[in-house]
Every structure is written in structure tokens, then in C-alpha cells.
């Protein structure tokens, strides 16, 4: 139960930071999403984000910063295993399940569903 509460709080706070940026700076949601993924990569490579995941669980991995962290984690692992080649393979390899499922489910849903009439 406490893990669910921790996930709620962690995910909630990350979203609040994004909402405050939207309200006070007027940055478009698309740019916020880009900013959060890149921030996740930076915090991941610095070893800060894994500590947030340790605390928040899915509350840290589900926001886009978590996607960035996955990319960073993957690239570190691949560099440790294969050296320089890992720089190019690690990120996408670690994020491959997310990317492939987003494309697959996204494509199928786009095909089968009708856009709301405006």
C-alpha cells in the first residue's frame, strides 16, 4: 500500500513541475515533453534518477523523465558491456519495448477508431 502512495506522490510531483512550467512560462506541452525526456537522460546518467525510481517505483518510471532514465540506463549498460559501440545501441535497445508497443498499439487504435466529430 505504501508503495502505491509513494508512486502517487512521486508521479504527482513530477506532473506538477510540468504543469507549473506550462502555466508560468507558457512553454507548449510538446516542448515540455521533450524537455522532460532530456532531463530524464541527464538525471539518469548522473545517477540521480535511479534514486528517485528506488523511492517512487512506477511513479518515477511512468512519467517521460522515466523514459529518459531508461535510455540513460541502457546506454551505460551497453558501454560497460561493449565499449564504444554501446553508445549507439544502448539507449534504443533499452527503450525498444516502449517504442515498439507505442507504434504497434498506436497504429492499431488509429486504424480501428473514429475521430470524434467536432
Amino acid at each position: 500500500m505504501t508503495d502505491i502512495v509513494k508512486a502517487f506522490i512521486t508521479g504527482g510531483i513530477i506532473c506538477v513541475i510540468a504543469q507549473l512550467l506550462t502555466d508560468y512560462t507558457g512553454i507548449t506541452p510538446a516542448r515540455i515533453m521533450v524537455l522532460f525526456v532530456v532531463t530524464g537522460v541527464v538525471l539518469g546518467i548522473l545517477g540521480i534518477y535511479p534514486a528517485i525510481v528506488e523511492f517512487g517505483g512506477a511513479g518515477a518510471t511512468i512519467p517521460l523523465t522515466g523514459f529518459g532514465n531508461t535510455l540513460a540506463k541502457g546506454v551505460i549498460k551497453a558501454v560497460n558491456e561493449t565499449g564504444l559501440a554501446g553508445v549507439l545501441t544502448g539507449g534504443v535497445k533499452a527503450a525498444s519495448a516502449g517504442i515498439s508497443s507505442a507504434i504497434t498499439f498506436g497504429y492499431i487504435m488509429a486504424i480501428v477508431s473514429k475521430p470524434k466529430l467536432k
Binding site: I4, A7, F8, C15, Q19, I62, P63, A110
Partner: protein, 150 residues
Amino acid sequence: MSKKITPHEYRHLVEKTMPSSRVLRNVLAAFVTGGLICAVAQVFFMGLKSMGVDEETAFMLTTVIMIFLGAVLTGLNIYDKIGKFGGAGASIPVTGFSNSIVSPAMEYKREGYVMGVGAKMFLIAGPVLVYGIFASVVAGLIYYVWTQVM
């Protein structure tokens, strides 16, 4: 107590309090929406772990499940409503990433399956992937150099 205020003063008062209360509403909605989505994901994660799935795979599968749910809810025109209420609380979780793929793909279906669905899917997801992957390569390069020097 019942101090009378002029319409002008009233309007001034409204203008002064309105924006901050709107921000407060947005922040609360983002917290609750983002928090709830992550809490649901945490339940899936804990379920997977109790089935004996290792932690890394469980996180990965949880992300896949949430992407699936985001795509289905977008297809049913429900996620747009969640987004209208929750703002960043709906767009920052991976369900929002999924929504950003399905939503334009549905809308541009009339432009065909290649340049409509195929291309417009990545209207927002494209930049996210470009900058995310590019950042990971740069970070990896820095990490590689660091491991060689140290």
C-alpha cells in the same frame, strides 16, 4: 463586516485572485491525475513482481501496459477528456505519450495511411524520440570517455 465595494474595486479584486486560483486548480488537477495514473501503474508493477517477474522486466511490462491503456482510451475519445482535466498530469505520463501518437494519427487518417497515419503519428512523439535518443547518445559518449579516463 459588510463593507461595500464599488464594481471597479470588485473587478480589480477578481482579476487579482483569478489567475492564482486558476494555477492552483491546474496544479491540483495535474497532481491528482498524474498521481492516479502512476498509482495504477504501480499496482500493475506490484502484480507482475508478485508473479515472479524480475524488477527490470516488470518496469518494462508496466510501461507497455500503460502505453496500451493510453492508446485504447485515446481511441475511445476518453483520454482527451482526462487531458482537458489533468493538463500536464495527463501528458507527462507515458499514457500521454501514447495519446500523442494515436490522437494525430486518428485525425489525419483521411490523408491516407502513409502520409496521414504513418507520418502524423510522430507529430509529438517524433521530437520526443529525436531529442531523447540524441541525448542518450551524447550521454553515452560522455560516459564512455569518462570510463576511459578514470
